[in-house]
């Protein structure tokens, strides 16, 4: 049946309108805000003060913001490797029909159901704590005093401690997507390979990985978005420590203030926060484009 073009437009209209109102308008407004100095989130337009690219220039000059960008790239890379290594491992193990698949899958996914704030308190106060934390206690029992004495949350370690704690909570989510992708691959391929005498390793690299490319590409984009918007863990782990601050948390500080007092000159600049938001959006778009370039989308039919 051939549909009238105007009917198509009519059916699309609600979705397009909603998209324009709740996505495009805020984005454009944020873009506009990033060129102004704005004293508060709800300031009237009359209170906005046009500063051109100054907000962006200031950001580039602030070592605090620059370190936040370095931090987030590190989180993306290190956290990405950690998460995907474990997520793949667990997904493959679960797909191989071990006993109690459902149970293990639930266990691995469990940390995702706990609020990030609660998880970070657990890690900070019960695992990394240097007097009665899990790590200290275990290492001391084992007689490894050098390891037991490590301050897991000091300036040198807090960044990696945060990545480990965060990755722990995120593995389950990506494992679930990858596992679903693996289960979709028809069993015939594996049977044929088994008959030909292929090992588990060969089957993983020659069948699972190539057929999982599309799913992996999607999860990678998802991970990139998650990593670039890394926020809660930065706030709970470091407060405003430059070793753990990320652009998203920096944006929050700029927009909502940071325990400010009247004597701090740059306590509030919503415009600067908006610039950070725009930079995060741009970075996400560029990263997604790069990922699409690296993993071209050729539909695999099976």
């Amino acid at each position: 049946m051939k549909m009238n073009k105007s009917i198509i437009a009519l059916f699309l209209l609600p979705a397009v309108l909603i998209y324009l109102v709740i996505f495009l308008y805020p984005t454009l407004r944020t873009l506009a805000m990033s060129f102004y100095d704005i004293p508060s989130l709800s300031s009237q337009f009359a209170e906005w003060h046009y500063v051109g690219l100054l907000n962006y220039k200031d950001l580039m000059h602030s070592p605090y913001f620059v370190s936040s960008m370095k931090n987030v790239l590190g989180i993306w890379a290190i956290g990405g490797v950690l998460i995907f290594a474990f997520a793949f491992l667990y997904a493959v193990i679960l797909a191989s029909k071990v006993r109690g698949t459902h149970f293990w899958r639930s266990v691995i996914f469990l940390p995702n159901t706990v609020s990030a704030v609660v998880l970070s308190v657990v890690w900070l106060q019960y695992i990394f704590n240097s007097s009665y934390g899990l790590l200290t206690t275990v290492f001391r029992r084992l007689g490894l005093t050098a390891l037991a004495d490590i301050q897991w949350t000091d300036n040198e370690h807090i960044y990696f401690s945060m990545i480990i704690a965060f990755s722990f909570g995120s593995i389950g989510y990506f494992m679930l997507i990858l596992n679903a992708g693996i289960n979709r691959i028809p069993g015939d391929y594996y049977e044929a390979a088994t008959l030909e005498g292929a090992s588990q390793r060969v089957k993983f690299f020659a069948i699972t990985l190539p057929l999982l490319r599309d799913v992996f590409r999607t999860t990678l984009v998802l991970w990139t978005i998650t990593a670039f918007n890394f926020f809660v863990w930065s706030a709970t782990f470091g407060l405003d420590d430059p070793h753990t601050v990320t652009p998203a948390f920096y944006m929050y500080q700029k927009v909502f203030g940071r325990g400010n007092n009247v004597y701090v000159e740059d306590a509030f600049n919503v415009g600067s926060g908006a610039s950070v938001g725009i930079l995060i959006t741009l970075a996400t778009l560029i990263a997604s484009a790069l990922i699409s370039r690296l993993f071209p989308k050729d539909r695999l039919e099976y």
């Binding site: 602030s62 990394f128 007097s131 897991w152 000091d154 420590d241 909502f256 400010n260 007092n261 701090v264």
Partner: protein, 491 residues
Amino acid sequence: MNKGSRAFATALVSTMLAVTALAGCGSSNDKEHSANSNAAANGAAANGNAGANGNAGANDNAAANDAAANDAGASGTTDAAKLSGKVVFWSMWSNTEPQAKVIDEAVADFEAANPDVDVEVKYNGRDINKLIKPALESGETIDVFEQDPGSALSNLKDHVLKLDDLLAQQGIGSDGKTVKDSIIPSLLGWVKSLAVPAGLDEGYYAIPQQPYAVLFFYNKALFQKVGITAVPATWEEFLADCELLKQAGIEPITFDDAYRDLFIGGYFGSAMGSDWTDGLVKDTTGELWKDPIVSQFANDMKLLEEKGYFSKKIAGNKYPAGQQDLALGKTAMYLNGTWLPNEIAATAGPDFQWGSFQFPDVSNGNGKGGRQGLSFGAQGLLINKNSKNVPAAFELLKYLVGKKAQEGMASQAVAIPATVDSTWPAPLEEAKVAFQNAKSNMPWGFGIDNGGDFSTGTVIPVFMELATGKLAPDAYVTKMAAEAKKFYAGK
């Protein structure tokens, strides 16, 4: 109107005009030198030794206002019975906290005296800090609300009502004193000093309550055990006490990540005052970091680290891990706000003997620091500028800062009463000395946080390198000077 009273009215009007003119002069002077925080000095001085610097004028002013209010019977001063309608109060406490109970009692008293007024209290807890601004901006009915005056005046300045008239009214249960005279003067002076830097007209926009000060809190039992009888007044005495504690196997000092700034600021504030410290973190050339006092600071911190006076755990302490060490008797001292005894009461237990002292005097300073400057503040009660029921809101506010409610806060919530002549809670008895010493207010962090991103991104982490022995004192000075220059290069 007969001749006599007309003459009186004329005299009154001319007195008031004169006083206003004087106050005008005062305020313009104030503006000149209150770019920072010293305006509070005036208020604090009024504490007892008046006449120091033009306070007489301020007192006259209050008296004149008072007289005017009584004479003209203005603005619903005492006719409480006439009040009616509804008052909505947004509190910063949650209804499980002891403070809420005290507020409930005050509201009950208010409603008993004003049967026609219906009070609605919303206990927001500290979520109020996120909720209040959007709520006020969207026009929600809120008459009275609680906020930290510093952040309220900078964030909500379009929503706050000037309360000067209220302060001239008679307080509740204050033995005939005005509200103004019933509240600790240094607190009122401080609240007043915030208005102009925030871009408001000079005046009072918040009634202070729940005052706090930043002090060293210590475990008295541990001090007594090692034979320390008096609190340290100077840095040298402080070091000697640390040595005694250390030799007895007690960790002298600890702090948490959330309060790292206090230790740096405390030292500089004590040596040079908070205006200098403010200038230090805002110095665009980096030259100020080469001042001998910075080098002295760096060497003193190295000493604390080398001798083991700092707990080894300061590097990794995540709030509240460090303050738990104090509560558990592992560490002797912790620099914090006066809310600490209440905050860790559950771990410390009822038998914990609390003591407190001001940051000890550091030598070779510029004479502007010392114990006359105190980093103190308070929570505040504010009235919405757009309140539809200002007279009733005024009246409710008077009950909340009345003597009975304030003493309730002291006895039930280990809070300092904002009213004068009230009994302080036992764990904070020694903190009273600091409030009496205070002549000028230093902002939170003694000014060290005023550099914004520079403070959080550079000052505090580089201090941690110093305090954990990873950076030598000379290297600290060089690094800070270079970092400051680099940070401000683009500005």
